[in-house]
């Protein structure tokens, strides 16, 4: 900690460094030197980023567990992701990280014009990422690649009605889950669909001896209306593994949470850009630029893990 030496040198006992406070208007009252304030901010940001790593870390653990349980789901469902768009987004984020790093350097070396330019480019990258992500999401929604039971349903109410009348209900492997206990007799279980809106209306499940739904329960539920629908190509695919919906659940959760971080990034980088255009940052004081830079690199880093884990598995 370099600050402690300078701290002790510049202020002996009994001094609170009022000189520094007069000289540096940005210096908060409870810090003695600008360096102490900078180092505190930096440590605080690193510690906060540690919490971010744990935040995403739990999701990566969940990803690992789900993939370990159903590896075929992941290798199958990844085909529905657009590797080109994902790849472009990866490049966009890496480039925005580069401009952010150049921007921090520009602030340190007091090049205010370059700082504003770099922040603007970073902001453009962040917004560009979100725009591409928006097209990816809407495309998947269009194909009905959603989470949970919606994954197995036609897109609209009208479609659902049409599908009920027209389509020939096929033996649907989609919702099948294997019974872990062969003696239970039930090899597959299908879900009633659509689910009741009011969850309290769901009857308590009957439990078999092995804790799984019994044969009676399987026969009791309605035949599913997961009919073939042109808007959901996966619904036509008889080779789709069971539980494929979980890939998309975790895909939306992890990329969505990352997307929220990018949105926050847009906000703080925009705030930096405004400050930079007003000349607030200089080689004396660039703490916010440095800290936001750290944040932005971590957001990029999370994506660097997300991209191969979702898009590049086959």
């Amino acid at each position: 900690m370099s600050h402690s030496a300078s701290h002790a040198d510049s202020h002996g006992h009994g001094s609170h460094g009022h000189g520094d406070h007069a000289k540096y208007p940005f210096l908060a009252h409870h810090f003695d030197t600008p360096n102490q304030q900078f180092e505190s901010g930096k440590l605080g940001m690193w510690v906060f980023l540690a919490t971010e790593v744990l935040f995403f870390g739990a999701l990566f653990v969940m990803y690992a567990i789900l993939r370990f349980k159903d590896p075929q789901v992941f290798s199958y469902a990844a085909n529905y992701l657009d590797t080109i768009l994902g790849g472009i987004n990866t490049c966009v984020l890496i480039l925005s990280s580069l401009t952010m790093a150049i921007g921090v350097r520009a602030a340190q070396t007091n090049k205010k014009g370059l700082l504003s330019l770099c922040l603007a480019l970073t902001l453009a990258g962040a917004i560009g990422f979100l725009v591409i992500k928006y097209f990816e999401y809407t495309h998947k929604f269009h194909l009905n690649l959603k989470w949970g039971q919606a994954f197995y349903q036609p897109v609209t109410e009208a479609d659902a009605a049409a599908a009920k009348v027209e389509a020939k209900p096929v033996e649907n492997p989609v919702l099948a889950i294997s019974s872990p206990n062969p003696s239970a007799g039930a090899s597959t279980v299908s879900l009633a669909s659509p689910p009741p809106a009011d969850k309290t209306a769901i009857a308590a499940p009957k439990m078999g001896p092995d804790g799984v739904a019994t044969t009676e329960m399987v026969e009791a539920v309605d035949k599913p209306v997961h009919a073939a629908h042109p808007e959901g190509p996966h619904l036509l695919d008889p080779d789709m593994p069971a539980n494929t919906h979980r890939f998309f659940a975790i895909y939306y959760i992890m990329t969505g949470l990352h997307g929220i971080h990018v949105v926050i990034g847009v906000g703080v980088i925009g705030w930096l850009l405004v400050g930079s255009l007003r000349g607030r940052y200089s080689s004396d004081y660039y703490t916010p630029v440095d800290l936001v830079g750290l944040y932005w690199h971590v957001v990029d880093l999370v994506w660097i893990f997300l991209f191969p884990l979702f898009y590049l598995i086959h």
Partner: protein, 564 residues
Amino acid sequence: MTTLDTRPIHDEVPGNYLTFRRGILSWIFTLDHKRIGVMYLVAVLVSFFVGGVMALLVRTKLLFPGEVEWMTFDQYNKAFTLHGAIMVFLVIIPSIPAALGNFVLPIMLGAKDVAFPRLNLFSFYLWIMGAICAVYSLIAGGFDTGWTFYTPYSSQFSTGGTIPVLVGVFILGFSSIFTGVNFVVTIHKLRPPGMTWFRMPLFLWALYATALIQILATPVLGITVALLVVERAFNIGIFDPVMGGDPVLFQHFFWFYSHPAVYIMILPGMGIISEIIAVHSHRHIFGFRFIAFSSIAIAIFSFLVWGHHMFTSGQSPLMNVLFSAITFSVAIPSAVKVFNWLATLYKGSISLNTAMWYGLSFIFLFTIGGLTGIPLAVLSTDIHLHDTYFVVAHFHYVMMGSALIAMIGGLHHWWPKMTGRMFNETWGKIGCALVFVGFNMTFFTQFMLGSQGMPRRYYMYKPEFQIYHHISTGGSYIMGLGFVITAIYLLHSLFAGRKAPANPWGGASLEWQCTSPPPHDNFSVTPRVGDCYDFSAVSWDEKQQGYVVDVEAHVAAAQSGKGH
């Protein structure tokens, strides 16, 4: 709070933190760690009152088995769930770090404030928002999942208030994280010259270890409850077995936070006890480094034992054995602390003040709470004791009998510093005795109930258990009376208490060297740091009716290595 602010209680000290600025806005927008600590304290104590009323309702209902006229089964389930959730998330977790820690940490350290005062205030308002969510969940239908929110009950069934309370827990988690970030940075970067790591009071070591857990464990809770909200709202099939999900995965995620959270609760309490025992025995703490490092050791171990909550949930036998073994090892740093406190007491000149009564209560209750953890860590006995009143009694001895008793003890220890007033010692001891006796009546009987097979959370019980339930409920009333008396004499002291000297107990750490209440900036000059457990330079001053520290001699003794 405004009445506190506008009343000039310390005429001879022109600028203490209470009179520095006036009016309610000066509290709402304050960045002063002392005022934020006081606001946290008020908020936590209000929550403690609500949670306590819930506990008394539950205990009163349990006087009789089965449904009673004034409380349905459903209301009973909601009442004990609310009691647990309030006490854990709104009271015990923020009580010592956010309320007492906020007030004391920068002063003990010799700093003017925490590193990020705005973040500190933001964290307080996050707490308020979380509390509002919890209140809203009651309006929205309440929740009856138990405070653990186990799936699939919480994700598919339960009642309408589940999602609001989960959102509240998520927000409260961030409040806790930001407090932790603040404390870690403050301790690393705001120490004045001379305040080395091994000159730091043990309370700060404990808060540092706590902050590490808050930072590293709480995000996992945040993402877990977020996933549960998504699961409940959209049925995505992560925890729902019908959709191919795994409910035990939720238990792993939940306990990965919530076991370390137990140490978020107890570690700061242990820190307070280290202060109370040393100061009120007027004797140098025994084994400073052992106590300091045992806090860090407990923080590390806390991340490795979560599986002991799931011995009956179908973990692999190998996992069970490993978690059981690591759980035993937590006993080592805990026992190191207890033995060091006892060694500190030995041949000390003990002042049996109210704070010391609480300190001794802690040692007694924590020992029982810790030792009854061993049968729960043993795989074979845990099968019998799992989800019985034995577990309830065990964690109440640790969370309430230890963490909360330490918090109340710390409140008495620093009350003169925070308010500038002395409370009535006689009533203090009566209150402490009632709480101690009532507590043991309430929860020791529950060990007996649990070992005979009474399951936790049940509204129905066998007739032969009724006598235990009667004793337990009677004890809870005695305890409640003790807390009411405590509240009365503490509030009374604000108006009629004797003015507090700067150093009423004879402490040598830095907070006793500034006035009571402290000035806005804590120290007008950078304080000089000695050994905070060296009481050789502390003497009684008749004129001030308090102790004074000869700072020159104190610092000189530390520099020459005396007092160690």
